[in-house]
C-alpha cells in the first residue's frame, strides 16, 4: 500500500470513533453537536501524557478515555434531561467552551531540551510517540483497525443483549421505557460516558497520527460531520457510521476526480439521500432485510 492510501485509511478509522460516539447517542435518542469536544479532550490529554510525561501510548489512551468519559458524564449530568434541540444546543455550547479553553491552554514544559505542550492557538506540536517507538504507518493503521474491530464487536454484543433493546427503547419511546421501570437518566448518563470515552479514543489516535493538533481541529464542523456520518450511514447498525465515514473520506477524498469540489458533490448526495432514506442507508429496515438474507 502506498503512503497516501494508508493515510486515508487511517483517517477513516480515526473518525469512525467520533462517528460511533454520535451514533451511540442518536440510538439513545439524543442529538449531539458536541462530540468534537471529547475528541479534543482525548487528543490533548493523550498528547500531554505521552509527549510531556513520557507515558506509553496504551496507558495514555486509557487515561484519556477515562477523562473523556468523565467529561461527557459531567456535561450530561445537568443537560441530559433536556430534550431535542435544547440538548443539542447545550452540547454545542459545551464544545465551543472546550475549544476556547484549548485556545487558552498554555501548558508547556521542557522535554529533552525542547519546549513541548499545548501553546494556545499555536497548537500542540511534537506528539511523536509512534515515531519514537519505530511504529510504521502500516502498523499504526493495524492498531487503529484492531481497536475499531474491538469497539464494533462491543457494539454488536450490546445490540444483541437486553441492554441494546433497552437503549433503543429509551431512544425511540422514552415514555414507554420509563413506564417499564427503566431509569432513563441513568441509562443516558451511561451512554454519555461511553460516547465520551469513544470520542476520546479517536482523539488520542488522531493526535498521535498527526503529531500536531490545534484548537481549530475541534470546532463544530467536526461535530456536525460526525453526526452526518452516523445518520447517512444509517441508524440500524454500528456499521452505519463506518459506512458514512468511508463514503466521505474514502470515496471522495480517494477519487481525484471530485477532489476540488468534494463537498459540493458530497453535500448534495447527503441531502438527496436523506430525502429517500431519512434514517440513513443502513436503517433498521435495511438491517432486518439483510439479516434475513445473510447467514
Amino acid at each position: 500500500m502506498d503512503a497516501y492510501t494508508i493515510g486515508v485509511l487511517t483517517n477513516i478509522g480515526l473518525f469512525s470513533f467520533v462517528a460511533l460516539s454520535a451514533y451511540l447517542l442518536l440510538v439513545a435518542g439524543e442529538l449531539s453537536f458536541g462530540q468534537q469536544a471529547f475528541f479534543g479532550v482525548g487528543a490533548y490529554a493523550g498528547g500531554i501524557f505521552t509527549a510531556m510525561y513520557g507515558w506509553p501510548l496504551p496507558l495514555a489512551a486509557l487515561a484519556a478515555m477515562t477523562l473523556g468519559a468523565l467529561a461527557q458524564f459531567l456535561v450530561g449530568l445537568p443537560t441530559l434531561r433536556l430534550r431535542g434541540l435544547y440538548f443539542a444546543m447545550s452540547t454545542l455550547a459545551a464544545a465551543e467552551m472546550a475549544r476556547i479553553l484549548f485556545e487558552l491552554l498554555h501548558f508547556q514544559r521542557e522535554v529533552k531540551g525542547e519546549l513541548t505542550g499545548p501553546d494556545g492557538t499555536q497548537g500542540f506540536r511534537g506528539i511523536r510517540w509512534i515515531f519514537e517507538h519505530g511504529i510504521e504507518p502500516i502498523d499504526y493503521l493495524g492498531m487503529v483497525v484492531g481497536l475499531l474491530a474491538v469497539v464494533l464487536a462491543g457494539f454488536f454484543l450490546v445490540e444483541r443483549s437486553r441492554l441494546g433493546a433497552t437503549l433503543r427503547g429509551v431512544g425511540q419511546d422514552p415514555e414507554l421505557a420509563a413506564s417499564l421501570g427503566i431509569d432513563i437518566q441513568r441509562v443516558k448518563l451511561g451512554v454519555a460516558a461511553a460516547a465520551g470515552a469513544l470520542a476520546a479514543l479517536g482523539g488520542v489516535l488522531y493526535a498521535h497520527h498527526n503529531t500536531y493538533i490545534e484548537p481549530r481541529n475541534f470546532d463544530i464542523m467536526l461535530g456536525v460531520h460526525s453526526l452526518a456520518y452516523a445518520l447517512i450511514g444509517g441508524l440500524g447498525t454500528a456499521f452505519g457510521p463506518l459506512l458514512g465515514v468511508v463514503l466521505d473520506i474514502g470515496a471522495l477524498e480517494g477519487s481525484r476526480v471530485f477532489h476540488d469540489y468534494r463537498m459540493i458533490v458530497f453535500g448534495g448526495l447527503v441531502a438527496l439521500l436523506l430525502v429517500f432514506r431519512p434514517r440513513g442507508l443502513l436503517d433498521e429496515r435495511m438491517v432486518r432485510w439483510l439479516r434475513a438474507r445473510l447467514p
Binding site: Y86, S90, L92, A93, G268, L274, V275, P278
Partner: protein, 290 residues
C-alpha cells in the same frame, strides 16, 4: 470608565441589533417548522458573496449591493427549503438538520471555488471619521447598522402583526393543527416564511459585512452560531425573545470583550447559554423542541 461603559453599550447595541435580525430569521423558521436550519448562515454568506462578486466585476452602489445580497440569500434559502425541509415535513427533525448542514458545506466550497482568496474587501457603509460627542465617539456605520436593523425589525413587526400573512404565520407557529383547521394552507406558509427569514438574514449579513468592510467564508459559521445563540438566549420560537436575545448577546459581548478580551467574550456567551439551558429557565422553554 463611565465613558467606556457607555461606548461599549453603544457598540453592543449596534452589533446586537444585527444579532437580533439573525435570531429573528432563525426563530421564524424554527417557529413554523420546528426545525433548526443549520445552513441559514451559509445562505447569508452566499448572498454576501454574490454581492462581493458583483462589486468586484462590475462595481455597484451600496443599495444595489444590499439588494443583491438579499436576493442571493433568498435564492440560497429557496434551494435549502426545497432540498432539506420540504421533503421532511412532519418527518425526521434530525434528517432535515443534517441535510441543511450538508448544504452548508456545499455553499462554503462553492464560494471558495469561485472566489479563492480568503478575504475580500467589501464597500463600507461609511468611510468618514466617527462622530464625536465630548468623550464619546460613535462610528457612523454602527449607527447606520443599528438604525437599519431597527427599521427591519419594525417592518417585520408590521408584517407579522398587521397583515393577513402575519396572522397565518403566528397561527401556524402557535398551533399548527388548529391553523390548518382554520383554513390556512401550511405548505404555502412554510415556503413564504422561509423566503422572509432568508431576506431578513440577507439584510443582517449585508449590514455586518458592510460595517466590517470585508468578508471571509467564516461568515457562514459566524452567522449560524450567533443567530442560534441569540435565539436560544431569548427563548426558542419567541419573536420578542429573539430581539431581546440578540441585543443582550451584543451587550454581553461588548462589555466582556472590553474587560476580558475576545476569547473570554465568546467563552462567557457559551457559558451563559449552557448554564441557562441546564437551569431550565422558564422563558427558554417556550416551545416544544423535542
Amino acid at each position: 470608565m463611565l465613558a467606556d461603559l457607555i461606548q461599549n453599550t453603544l457598540d453592543g447595541l449596534s452589533i446586537g441589533a444585527a444579532y437580533a435580525l439573525l435570531a429573528l430569521g432563525f426563530t421564524l423558521i424554527f417557529g413554523v417548522l420546528r426545525r433548526a436550519n443549520l445552513s441559514y448562515g451559509a445562505a447569508i454568506m452566499f448572498g454576501c458573496y454574490c454581492a462581493t462578486w458583483t462589486h468586484l466585476n462590475f462595481g455597484a452602489g451600496l443599495l444595489l449591493l444590499a439588494a443583491i445580497t438579499v436576493a442571493g440569500t433568498v435564492l440560497a434559502g429557496a434551494y435549502v427549503e426545497r432540498l432539506c425541509f420540504a421533503p421532511h415535513r412532519g418527518g425526521s427533525m434530525i434528517a432535515a438538520m443534517v441535510a441543511s448542514f450538508a448544504l452548508w458545506m456545499q455553499f462554503e466550497e462553492l464560494v471558495t471555488l469561485v472566489m479563492p482568496t480568503h478575504l475580500y474587501a467589501f464597500p463600507a457603509l461609511y468611510e468618514g471619521a466617527p462622530l464625536a460627542f465630548g468623550p464619546y465617539t460613535l462610528r457612523v456605520d454602527a449607527l447606520v447598522m443599528f438604525g437599519a436593523a431597527i427599521a427591519a425589525c419594525a417592518l417585520l413587526w408590521g408584517t407579522l402583526y398587521r397583515t393577513r400573512f402575519g396572522l397565518a404565520v403566528r397561527a401556524v407557529t402557535e398551533q399548527p393543527a388548529a391553523a390548518s383547521l382554520a383554513g390556512i394552507n401550511l405548505p404555502w406558509v412554510y415556503v413564504r416564511v422561509f423566503a422572509l427569514a432568508s431576506a431578513i438574514g440577507g439584510v443582517a449579513g449585508y449590514l455586518v459585512v458592510a460595517s466590517h468592510g470585508q468578508i471571509t467564508p467564516m461568515l457562514g459559521m459566524w452567522s449560524t452560531l450567533k443567530g442560534l445563540l441569540a435565539m436560544m438566549l431569548g427563548g426558542l420560537g419567541s419573536l420578542p425573545g429573539a430581539v431581546v436575545g440578540g441585543l443582550a448577546l451584543g451587550l454581553l459581548e461588548a462589555h466582556s470583550q472590553w474587560f476580558l478580551g475576545p476569547q473570554l467574550r465568546d467563552l462567557i456567551a457559551y457559558l451563559l447559554l449552557f448554564v441557562l439551558l441546564a437551569a431550565r429557565v422558564p422563558w427558554m422553554h417556550t416551545r416544544s423542541a423535542s
